[in-house]
């Protein structure tokens, strides 16, 4: 079974530029998560999708961040415009079932963003 795929793996941009990250979850997984991980810290949830519906986006800075999961499979996370403080690793995870807290989340390798 293929794991969660993310691209690009690394991205370097100048501040105020836009950037987008792509995630392909494990086949058959209904729930998709985007997390932010700062250096030396644990991941923090940005948004959770159940199929194509964003069911928890309370931690997403909506002034500059947006996300979509149009067909309930792949997802993109966008930042526009990027700020220096956005430099971090952006992780995507997926789980099989919807809304089940005990369902194992499988993480992708992440996209490391550097904003100069």
């Amino acid at each position: 079974e293929a794991g969660v795929v993310q691209s690009p793996r690394y991205k370097i941009i100048e501040k105020k530029q836009p950037v987008a990250f792509w995630c392909n979850p494990i086949s058959g997984h209904n729930t998709l998560y985007w997390y932010l991980q700062n250096l030396g810290q644990g991941p923090e949830l940005l948004i959770r999708y159940e199929n194509e519906e964003a069911v928890d986006d309370s931690q997403l800075p909506k002034d500059r961040f947006s996300a979509e999961r149009l067909k309930g499979v792949d997802s993109t996370l966008k930042i526009q415009p990027a700020e220096l403080g956005d430099s971090a690793v952006y992780l995507c995870a997926s789980s099989r079932y919807s809304g089940l807290s005990t369902d194992t989340q499988y993480f992708g390798p992440g996209t490391r963003l550097t904003v100069l």
Partner: protein, 113 residues
């Protein structure tokens, strides 16, 4: 502005010894706990989980202990190997969170051959 990373707690053990990694969780309403292993350049990898109606659970070479009275979680790794070197995170959630994990501060495990 420039971001500064936190200095992770570090545990250094000799190959073959047992390792114990500790975690204090914050929410007394949490009822499901997970340990993740994160190697450099990779995403977190599930190791073992435990529900709040248990106080111990064993896996292959790993054991998780839960003490709800003091809100403490520990991960024991038997016969630690160089491949166990990584950052370990505990995470908590509850049935009302629908899968939202709250991660604790990680611990960096370094295994000396």
């Amino acid at each position: 502005g420039e971001s500064v990373g936190l200095h992770l707690p570090t545990l250094s053990v000799q190959e073959g010894d047992n390792s114990i990694i500790n975690c204090a969780y914050s929410n007394s309403a949490s009822d499901y706990f997970i340990w993740y292993k994160q190697e450099s350049g990779k995403g977190p990898q599930f190791i073992i989980d435990i529900r709040s109606n248990m106080d111990k659970r064993q896996g292959q070479r790993v054991t998780v202990l839960l003490n709800k009275t003091v809100k403490h979680l520990s991960l024991q790794i038997a016969a630690t190997q160089p491949g166990d070197s990584a950052v370990y995170f505990c995470a908590e959630t509850n049935y009302n969170q629908g899968g939202k994990l709250i991660f604790g501060q990680g611990t960096e495990l370094s295994v000396k051959p």
